[in-house]
């Protein structure tokens, strides 16, 4: 027997997808109102939604999508012209369908008020009489344009061709990855063992299995990769809504929306990108009047680009707005007590000030960008993904935010370190360098703890055993290793017993029972099959100390 609840859940998942698809179509429709194939596609999507909603017994959704469909039918029959206001109604309807689906996924009997949107449809459905007359002519035009539009039509058509894909739950993929990880570990063990055998045939087979294992690992990792398309579509919508809210005309272009990224990275990337794009619309691009005054094209321009570069994913958000003024930023930072008076910074450091918490260059907090989440959160979120964000700007010409991210968080290069008989993993990307210290370079400063003298640079040093509260007999300074970390504004270093080696590690998330644990980003299974914790070094160093050294930097 098919479970009704399962069927409904399945439907809701699909419906969510439909809503995202239609949203994209509406946005395209606005720029290409004469493209008949897009309207055709929207109509089909709405029709599907209505049918399925009826089939699984979601009455309200079925009723609403029926009204929506009739409205679309009018557009299709050219009884109504496609104007920005009509597109607004369409988007509002689409959003409401999204809301209904959301509500239904938590409660199958949920009801969402829809009267206001229904009314919008009714109003929009009553066209001024002249539109109706005029609509006869464009109809001919459409026929004429049809052949000419044929090459453009290809895009939505291709998307509709039978899609050779299946939907698999993330949990299943993760289980597969667990076993693949195990396979890779066993492979390492097998390689070691077979190197001791004289049996040529056996060694050959082990080598071949090794190749296959590598391939299997690569393929299973790629299962987690998803295109950026949906995120980009969301951003397109945000540019549209934000710019119309602010009364700015902005042209938006995107490139590379098919670029793929690990699903887990993508999920945490959404919010920072939304913020950066909103910021570009609100603070970056000037108002149309001001642009004309400055001799720039009236319509602002924002470009969103994604591409792979050197094993990393790069996302650029470029605007042709006012750019950042280093001097203004510094002045502002001093006013806000972020910098001590009289500070001098390089231009690049000054640009980075916008990522400082409590910093906002616009005097009045707007509805659009000033919603609590600051640029500091953007930077922290991106850094949490082992990524980086840089600013390129030219005063009066524009600003580009360049976000660089690793392609996957599932596998990283890790450095395995030892502390007594404990082993921990540090992501290599966090390690700037590691040195066997000369004991005379380690200084104890009262009130500040230990300072390591790295070729003349004074860096606060922490001992991993005391950071982790592990009691042990101290080892001689010259027997240990100092690991220098520069992911933060302020570098710091960690004193450990030894480095055991480097290896590719498959990151496993910690269970819910350990979510409270700070200082560890996950665990990994090492070559001998035993788990080790992955250290998130910047989370375990005492925060107050870093602040103190920050102050020192400002005074210098």
């Amino acid at each position: 027997m098919i479970d009704d609840g399962d069927l409904r859940q399945e439907f809701l998942l699909e419906a969510q997808q439909l809503v995202t698809d239609t949203e994209q179509c509406f946005l395209t429709l606005e720029t290409e109102p004469d493209n008949p194939s897009i309207l055709e596609r929207i109509f089909r999507l709405a029709h599907n939604l209505k049918g399925s909603a009826q089939a699984v017994g979601f009455a309200q959704l079925a009723e609403f999508s029926h009204k929506f469909e009739s409205f679309l039918l009018k557009l299709k029959k050219k009884e109504l012209a496609i104007t920005p206001s009509v597109v607004n109604v369409l988007l509002a309807c689409n959003d409401r369908i999204g809301v209904i689906i959301q509500a239904l996924s938590t409660d199958f009997s949920a009801q969402v008020p829809i009267d206001d949107v229904m009314e919008m449809i009714v109003i929009a459905s009553q066209p001024p009489s002249e539109v109706q007359e005029a609509s006869l002519e464009p109809q001919k035009e459409v026929i004429a344009k049809f052949s000419f539009a044929a090459e453009k039509v290809d895009v939505p058509k291709a998307a509709h061709s039978p899609d050779e894909s299946i939907r698999v739950s993330v949990a299943r993929v993760e289980r597969l990855l667990n076993f693949v990880g195990e396979l890779v570990i066993l492979q390492t063990v097998l390689n070691e063992q077979s190197s001791e055998t004289e049996h040529i045939g056996l060694r050959k087979t082990v080598h071949q299995i090794g190749k296959v294992t590598e391939e299997v690992q690569e393929i299973s990792m790629s299962l987690r990769m998803v295109p950026l398309k949906q995120t980009f579509q969301k951003l397109q919508r945000i540019v549209r809504d934000t710019s119309s809210l602010l009364g700015k005309k902005i042209e938006f272009e995107m490139h590379g929306e098919d670029t793929e990224l690990d699903k887990s990275v993508l999920e945490s990337l959404g919010d920072p990108l939304v913020h950066l794009v909103r910021n570009a619309v609100d603070h970056g691009v000037e108002s149309n009047a001001l642009r004309l005054e400055r001799g720039k094209p009236e319509i602002g321009h924002i470009a969103l680009r994604a591409f792979h570069h050197g094993g990393k994913l790069v996302i650029e958000i470029e605007d042709d707005g006012a750019g950042l003024d280093a001097n203004k930023l510094i002045k502002k930072a001093i006013e806000k007590n972020i910098l001590p008076p009289g500070s001098e910074l390089s231009e690049r450091d000054a640009y980075d000030l916008i990522f400082a918490s409590g910093f906002s260059t616009k005097t009045e907090v707007t509805d659009v960008s000033g919603r609590g989440v600051g640029m500091d959160v953007v930077k922290t979120n991106i850094e949490r993904l082992q990524g980086d964000v840089r600013i390129d700007t030219a005063l009066g010409i524009g600003t580009t935010f360049r976000v660089t991210l690793p392609l996957t968080l599932a596998i990283v290069d890790g450095m395995v370190i030892r502390l007594q008989n404990h082993r921990f993993v540090i992501p290599i990307s966090h390690v700037h360098e590691s040195i066997r210290p000369n004991p005379k370079d380690i200084h104890v400063v009262s009130g500040l703890g230990e300072i390591f003298d790295l070729r003349g640079e004074n860096i606060p040093m922490y001992r991993l055993d005391s950071l982790l509260g592990i009691k042990r007999k101290a080892i001689q300074d010259h027997d240990g290793i100092v690991i220098v970390v520069r992911t933060r504004v302020q570098p710091f270093c960690i004193f450990v017993d030894d480095i055991l080696g480097q290896q590719q590690i498959v990151i496993k998330r910690l269970g819910a029972e350990l979510q409270l644990l700070e200082g560890f980003s996950g665990s990994a299974i090492l070559g001998d099959g035993r788990p080790a914790l992955i250290l998130e070094l910047s989370d375990i160093i005492p925060k107050s100390k870093v602040l103190k050294t920050n102050d020192m930097k400002g005074c210098a």
């Binding site: 667990n178 076993f179 570990i185 509260g469 269970g511 029972e513 350990l514 644990l517 035993r530 914790l533």
Partner: protein, 159 residues
Amino acid sequence: MQENSHNIRYLSFSLGNEEYAIPLLVVKEVIAIPEVTPIPFTPNYFLGLMNLRGQVISVLDLRTKLGIKPSTSAENAVIICDLDPISLGVIVDSINSVVSPDENELSGRPDTQNAKASEYITNIYRKNEKLILIINLAKALSIDDYKAISGSEKAKEAA
């Protein structure tokens, strides 16, 4: 015997000199004590992390958690439990048997002074003059505490 098929089945095990049982449904498997990696900053009943065929899970000592002295015989076992969404390894002294008590053999938890213990004991099964305490493992290990806190932390992040 026919009736028994409707009864809930429990896995019974020893902690010190006492006998406890948990619903068989939460038990995934029973294994010998594996090698574990200790976890810093955790309470003393967190023994560490183990590798269960590629999955990393926490191993907890139920005896330490409940303040029961381990038995002298070193016949320990780890019960791998699925307390949705958490998978845990739970160390006990020894595994006894699968029991399936009749409704009338079960009695509710006694009213005692120890409110904490009576929270996780769901039923008492009297079997041949012996008492088997049926417990809610998630409550005995205070799982809700971790979940509640991690939930609020997520909420903070979302805000």
